[in-house]
């Protein structure tokens, strides 16, 4: 991983931090969208390197966190069917639904398997023709092409025992929802580099234009994040609102065209519920009609479920940057990563879990 070292170099990081201090004359509220970026900020203490006036608030970009409770409940219900093999990304297994999680379903005898890539699920389907294999296809635009590829491959092979329980979310509609909210405080965004690697920058340019808000497409290492903050601060201080790309080593303007093609072939845009935030119009993906035979929601007739989040959870405010995780009265007390009451405490990339894992000492003292 030598190529990463320069992006973790503390001398470069400190030099950037000093430049940020020099460039900042007023307070600014910036949001990093992606949970991976939140994780890096907490892990390396990037926010401690910034001047007091720069507030980083943590966006909704943790795919595990924003997957609705209903989807988790459906996955558990499917996994418990005797002829089903449920295949999932590893970190979904511990995510609590309304009553249980996939680990517990596994302990009750459900066949739940972890995959590193959705094509492994297709492989499992191929080698278990007498079982129904369901892949829990969640994530942002980053996982969508690979998930689409799995459905495409299954269709091409004519597999009849493979389906996907889809809960895909899209970043730009979430930013739009934040910006139109009357309580919005965010003045600049660090856009998620990996999402833009896939879909490119076009939609972010639209957001910059529509809301006159600076957006910098940023990477995930400490130096990336500091550089993105510096780019945002310079724009804000100069009264500008442009789209800039800090993550040039990965992101091109048009993105990955073959990945976009396969996404478009398999998925269509749909309304989507976000855990902790609620429904956002046109903010998700569902399988196209041509792929209905691979849609677990239709194959298994799961019906509609609605489940309410615990009322004490303030995740909606946390995910909009209105409150910090530590403002929550149950943070670290009745809400912990082992027993999360809400979305951002669920995965290590959720804002609350990141605070809990890396910053508890600072809260206590």
């Amino acid at each position: 991983m030598k190529y990463l070292d320069e992006y973790r170099d503390h001398r470069i990081a400190r030099a950037l931090a000093a430049e940020i201090v020099q460039s900042t004359t007023r307070p600014w509220v910036l949001m990093e969208i992606c949970g991976g970026q939140t994780h890096t900020i907490m892990r390396y203490g990037i926010d401690e390197l910034l001047p007091r006036g720069i507030e980083l608030v943590h966006g909704p970009g943790c795919p595990v966190c924003v997957t609705p409770l209903e989807t988790v409940d459906k996955a558990i219900a499917l996994a418990l069917q005797p002829d089903v093999i449920l295949v999932s990304y590893g970190d979904m297994l511990r995510v609590p639904g309304s009553r249980s999680d996939l680990f517990r379903a596994k302990a009750q005898g459900a066949d739940v398997r972890i995959a590193y890539s959705p094509t492994e699920a297709v492989k499992i389907a191929r080698s278990n023709p007498d079982r129904k294999v369901v892949f829990l296809a969640i994530g942002f635009e980053t996982t969508a092409p690979a998930n689409a590829m799995a459905a495409w491959q299954a269709k091409r092979e004519g597999l009849t025992n493979f389906s996907m329980l889809v809960s895909h979310v899209l970043v730009p509609p979430a930013i739009r929802a934040l910006m139109v909210s009357s309580t919005n405080r965010v003045q600049g965004f660090i856009a998620p580099g990996h999402v833009c690697t896939v879909v490119g920058c076009k939609e972010y340019e639209d957001l910059v234009r529509d809301f006159r808000v600076p957006i910098v497409v940023g990477g995930f290492e400490p130096v990336d994040i500091l550089e993105a903050v510096l780019m945002l601060v310079r724009q804000l201080e100069a009264g500008e609102a442009r789209l800039e790309n800090q993550y040039v080593r990965s992101v091109s303007y048009q993105g990955n065209l073959p990945a976009q093609q396969i996404m478009d072939e398999v998925f269509e845009i749909a309304d989507q519920k976000w855990r902790g935030i609620g429904p956002i119009p046109q903010s998700g993906l569902r399988l196209r009609e041509e792929y209905a035979a691979f849609d677990a929601d239709r194959v298994f007739d799961l019906g509609e479920m609605t489940v309410d989040e615990p009322a004490e959870c303030i995740s909606a405010q946390v995910l909009q940057g209105l409150k910090k995780p530590t403002d929550c009265p149950v943070f670290g007390m009745r809400c912990t990563p082992e027993n999360p009451l809400g979305a951002p405490m669920v995965s290590t990339e959720g804002a609350c879990a990141a605070y809990y894992h890396y910053r508890r000492h600072a809260v206590a003292s």
């Binding site: 991983m1 990037i46 795919p63 680990f103 972890i114 590193y116 508890r360 000492h361």
Partner: protein, 351 residues
């Protein structure tokens, strides 16, 4: 006892009721600790067990005997750098060595699934024998059970070990004091990543090998340098993080690590990046952590580095008065973060 990680839960309220065993109960993290606290300790309580070290130390006619037992359920059975046979020796003799005991005798019990290849069994047994011989212990008793096909996973092994603790030596996880130094005998994460890579069919430019090894010879060198060692632990399941959290909790002290001093091989670091894992939580089978009085730390470090098993030894941190029960880490950025204990197994992240 062999479930190695004991901490008080940091969450003051009880977790939601759990009525079934989850895989996480065997991870060496918080769930394992909870199981020991709620199920095993109330049943077996006695002063020897209450120390909750990796080995029990009992007095028999003036001799201090160390006893420990461990079960091995590794999959795959054969992996780069070892197999279930050698691991069954190293795991148990290392638990003895961490109490400062010279390992002497082992028992070995085999639980075999119907249909298992006798040829493979022979390979495992030969490897176990060879590892025992190299560690200077004899397998003096054993047991064999066969379970129906589908009722086991090929082969499980349990080994129990007995060793002798030198007069006057008292190593325990509750003896760390502010000012003490934290020493680590070498690079971390090799075993866990070697197993994972083999299991998942991941390939890297150079093969990552398990570090599985018997640590007593290294311990002997260290004890030869000083008796000012407070505590030794081998960071197996749950990795360096779980072991240090346990020591911090038991000694009611804080432990502060220096991130830049952690020895991690490039290949392991790369694999961890790829899989979204943190090497601090990945298992080791041939490494030890020693908490040493400040005045003796350099001498112990030099002694460790003279031995092949400690060639890459590093001083990785300091015991502090602040933040009792917590492990923190100074990052190269001059900031500090918590190195938390995980609830269960570490899971690969989605992105």
């Amino acid at each position: 006892m062999s479930t190695k990680t004991i901490v008080e839960l940091s969450c003051p309220t009880p977790l939601a009721a759990k009525d079934t065993i989850l895989l996480g109960h065997g991870s060496g993290g918080k769930l394992s600790a909870e199981l020991i606290r709620d199920v095993f300790l109330p049943a077996f309580q006695n002063p020897v067990l209450a120390r909750l070290d990796d080995q029990a130390i009992v007095n028999v006619n003036g001799q201090r005997l160390a006893v420990t037992t461990d079960s091995f359920v590794v999959k795959p059975l054969f992996f780069p750098g070892g197999d279930i046979g050698s691991l069954a020796v190293h795991g148990t003799v290392n638990d003895l060595a961490m109490g400062g005991a010279m390992p002497l005798f082992l028992s070995a019990a085999f639980i075999i699934e119907e249909g298992f290849s006798i040829d493979e069994l022979r390979r495992v047994v030969n490897s176990l024998h060879q590892a025992a011989a190299e560690a200077g212990v004899q397998v003096v008793t054993g047991d064999t059970k066969v379970v129906e096909k589908g009722k086991g996973d090929g082969l499980f092994i349990n080994t129990t070990g007995i060793g002798l603790v030198p007069e006057g030596l008292d190593l325990s996880a509750d003896r760390a004091r502010p000012g003490d130094k934290v020493l680590l005998s070498g690079s971390i994460g090799d075993h866990g990543i070697a197993i994972l890579a083999q299991r998942e069919g991941l390939e890297f430019e150079t093969q990552i090998k398990s570090d599985s090894a018997a640590l007593y010879p290294l311990v002997g060198e260290m004890l030869g340098a000083t008796r000012e060692i407070r505590c030794m632990r081998d960071p197996t399941r749950g990795g360096v993080s779980s072991t240090l959290n346990e020591i911090a909790e038991r000694s009611r002290v804080g432990i502060e690590l220096e991130e830049s001093s952690l020895p991690i091989h490039e290949q392991v670091r790369g694999a961890c990046e790829l899989l979204g894992l943190d090497p601090l939580y990945v298992a080791n089978e041939g490494k030890l952590i020693a908490i040493v009085a400040p005045g003796a730390a350099d001498a112990v470090l030099q002694a460790m580095r003279r031995h092949p098993l400690g060639a890459e030894a590093q001083m990785i941190g300091t015991v502090k008065k602040e933040n009792p029960g917590l492990v923190t880490m100074r990052t190269p950025f001059g900031t500090t973060r918590i190195v938390d204990m995980l609830a269960g197994d570490q899971l690969p992240r989605i992105c």
